[in-house]
Symmetry: D2
Subunit: 315 residues, 4 copies
């Protein structure tokens, strides 16, 4: 089907690329220079981190991950399984005089199951990835040679939580609801959030995770989420990372006229902004924890595309 793209659309894309090309080497060039692999995460300076720690008032720490297992709904053909083994202890054996026994675990699964960070090597535009990297040059079968998750630095910055369910006065925001500039600013106003700033992490709460385990089919096929103009708006504010409590992050069905995961394209390759999916902010909403210290350490799997993560928010 994607082969039958009309030449008109191709032409439009070529025009976009051409217009971009006038002032930078390629449409995905980084403003941080040709060697950059981390995008807007560069904005998280010690000064930014220090300021973010001042947002902590109660000391309550929130675990933002959902669980990852074989039943976690995920984008096909992603699967996940853990196998527990007891090496060297066959038939009830143990090790040494204090009879040490142990369990180990073998993971077989896709890094895109559960709460996940989309690295800058995840999404491209016709093979062109962040900072002018072409898939054929870095996306090797045994690991990305650039843009892998091992490059993501320590994340500790200001987090802002937008309660879209509250904004729409509902428990679960309806699928297909796009969050664009008006909705973002409306939610900020309602919550008394004065600004979204350079280097921030912005999280959307939609209530969508309430469907998990109850209606996995609906949960995993559609979602409310960020729209194209909302993505461009947040990109203009130079945020570092944007997350949501849905599997798709962006609105599905896609907005009228939008490409397939075009919001991902706007953020990741075109603006160097990482994405977080399935971020569980339910308890934070209950506590009205709107501005907070956000920390994230992604397992440094060399050449990894995505990462199963568990961000920690501290209010």
């Amino acid at each position: 089907m994607h082969k039958r793209l009309s030449w008109i659309l191709t032409l439009v894309l070529v025009c976009i690329i051409t217009s971009y090309a006038q002032d930078k080497p390629c449409p995905t060039a980084s403003k941080f220079g040709p060697d950059d692999q981390i995008g807007n995460v560069n904005y998280i300076t010690p000064a930014k981190t220090l300021a973010a720690t001042k947002l902590v008032t109660t000391g309550k720490a929130y675990r933002l991950a959902i669980e990852t297992n074989k039943d976690t709904p995920a984008y096909p053909p992603r699967t996940f399984a853990v196998t527990i083994v007891q090496p060297s202890q066959t038939a009830g054996g143990s090790l040494g005089p204090t009879k040490t026994t142990y369990n180990d675990d073998l993971i077989v699964g896709w890094a895109g199951v559960g709460t996940q960070l989309d690295g800058l090597g995840h999404i491209g535009i016709d093979g062109l990835y962040y900072n002018c990297n072409k898939a054929a040059d870095f996306a090797m079968t045994d690991g990305l040679k650039k843009l892998g998750v091992e490059h993501v630095p320590a994340i500790a910055t200001r987090g802002v939580l937008l309660d879209m369910a509250g904004y729409f006065n509902t428990d679960i925001v309806k699928e297909g609801t796009a969050f664009n500039r008006a909705e973002i600013e409306g939610a900020m106003k309602r919550q008394g959030i004065k600004s979204i700033e350079k280097g921030d992490v912005v999280l959307f709460y939609t209530g969508w995770l309430k469907l998990l385990g109850k209606d996995n089919k609906r949960f995993g096929s559609v979602a409310p989420g960020l729209g194209r103009d909302g993505a461009k708006f947040l990109a203009s504010l130079e945020v570092a990372i944007i997350g949501s409590d849905t599997w798709s992050f962006e609105v599905i069905p896609f907005e009228k006229g939008a490409g397939v995961f075009e919001v991902h394209q706007i953020l990741i390759p075109l603006n160097g902004i990482h994405i977080l999916e399935n971020v569980n902010t339910e308890e934070m909403v209950r506590d009205q924890a709107w501005e907070f210290l956000f920390t994230l350490g992604a397992a440094r799997i060399t050449g990894g595309v995505q990462s199963i993560v568990n961000p920690i928010a501290i209010k």
Copy 2:
């Protein structure tokens, strides 16, 4: 070999267990009650977290993980590999009008490769695990039914870094060097650290990671590390987590008369203290970042034993 344990040793163990058994239901019973699955992490209260955020003075955030890949030395038979795929894009295809392309990654590996958190289900004493849990009751092949890493809450607490290389006035502390009460207190005094407190995370720096990639054989077969009395001393201080920059965490060769990974036994099943391995604190030592805010979010893999992690320290 472990089958040929003399009955004397068994008798000793039985005696130990019996003596323990006098005042609690089993030697691994939790002081936090029969339902507890997280041990001393319970000590990390909002008040504790709030106080820890006050330790931040420069805002510099440290990424404490090493990289995990097929070449990372690991305890046999642990292995690790990542495979990059481009689903639905065979032969250069893309998706939709904006020609979306993407990489995904399939992980096949053991959770004990690289920087790792040892969950409370990792180590036992002859099949008896933390809080009186018996392996046969919870260590199922498709995932732990108790003590899995998905239960670990948000970690944000005071971190203390002990510079053992500095204490021993060397670059790399020699293998077999045990850190017991004298060495711990000596290092604290040298660094001006007044106390180790309930709910703290204590990290040892030995310089051992300098061997990684240079002498993997030495790196992965022996190490300096915590001794039995040091473990009991830190347990008496009720710390939450203890980590080191070695693969084994504890001293190897084991101390004279010690069991196989007996320090692990003292901490995990007997005291509910999590362990961190291969924690890279090189840069923190250079900055003399001795007391700091320590945060950790372990991927919530249901029933997982260990977790590949990337703790974030903020000074």
Copy 3:
């Protein structure tokens, strides 16, 4: 539950083992000597093979495997998945002047999914496996050190197909129907099979595979199959391998008073007879191909327990 075994049963087992022990070193000792790892497959001599080739009259070759994939019902927690990759061809690339492209496949799954050979290292009696091998001595986490499937020699011998559905005059033999000496001899008589001989492969047809994909729950939870006396009878005839068209091979629910997979125990550890499961003989029954040349080459995975196979029968 298995911990609550009454001491009476244990006593009975001890008695059995003791009685066996009078004339051989252990109840699972091989009649082919202490180094034997292949059991009755030893009976397949060149003379036996040569005679079997004389059974070929039409030259029709039968593929006896069912397909193995993620939907194939299997004994929990067994799973299976294949992932197709195009290494070095990201974004539509190809290799060299003749533009070579290629697909590769990564298998992640248990060897006990689909048509499978149970190796002699698969089943034991309280940790005692074929030929006096104890699990603790050979069942290492990274592969069996004895009794692995890599030792199975080329199999080419006489095959005999017993049409139990025909014998019971039904399409699908009812679950729980045990095949013992009377049923085996009855089926032989009905089909005009004069003898079952040393080194033969005996296959049972029950029609059970007709349920596959139609009623997987029934298919994978119960089955008709060999009973204990039938197993002992065939063992007394010194057959090499016995197979069936069910997942369990033996009758389930187990016969009254029988142990869990006790028929497997009678055949594998006690008699050195390999087992085949999910062997599709539907077409052979239609052709009344009762006696034939049976060939089997199991992939030689070092230290493997079972093997996904595809035996070839030639009539």
Copy 4:
């Protein structure tokens, strides 16, 4: 590098494709019709099989596979590992009154490690595979939708073994030695093989497996093997399958002017001839077993590209 192909070579390819295109729908069209997925294996009729069984004179059966494990040299990034587990038997447990214990095995590896069958979906020409199938249409990440190994029928046919080491009067034929028509006919003459016939399996013996485990670097980087004209010659004889005792099957370094794995292209997509690699015929050469019954049953992994196999030859 492959991106820098000169337009001349592309033009040549276009010309070849164009000339092919005059009499069939595409250069890889099957002579067995548009639905064909098995190529020359179609030539293996019952009559052919029956005739092949007449070649058996001694009844000696040969196991032609080498072992597959983590140390088996394989084309990068292929890897292989087996993990042994004892489900439901943690801490020495067993099942039921007869104390059943069991081992299971989890396979994680590429199907192209060890003795392997290259399915017709393995190799293409710029994305065009056997019988006009385009990669984008059938090579899905979760399994091939056409040309998968599950379609390969029972193989039982005449096998012919060409002793190239004998022909070159050496133990191990030197790398880069191409087997073309002259060498094939020379070896046949030397061995007294009168003909190679439609539906035959032809195996080359080079002695190359003598290097396995002794000089894996040489073993896995170069090899003697079939050349382009030899491939075309055997294709003209309408053989079903061709195999060798090397990892690459074809000669490496490639012949002067040859494409990357062009011999694979000539056989698989252009002629529907399956390939076997790492076929161990050492013992057959010792026995001078030149013409024999060849049988092969490949595990029927749905959508699999290659298959780890163990062909059985009977003389």
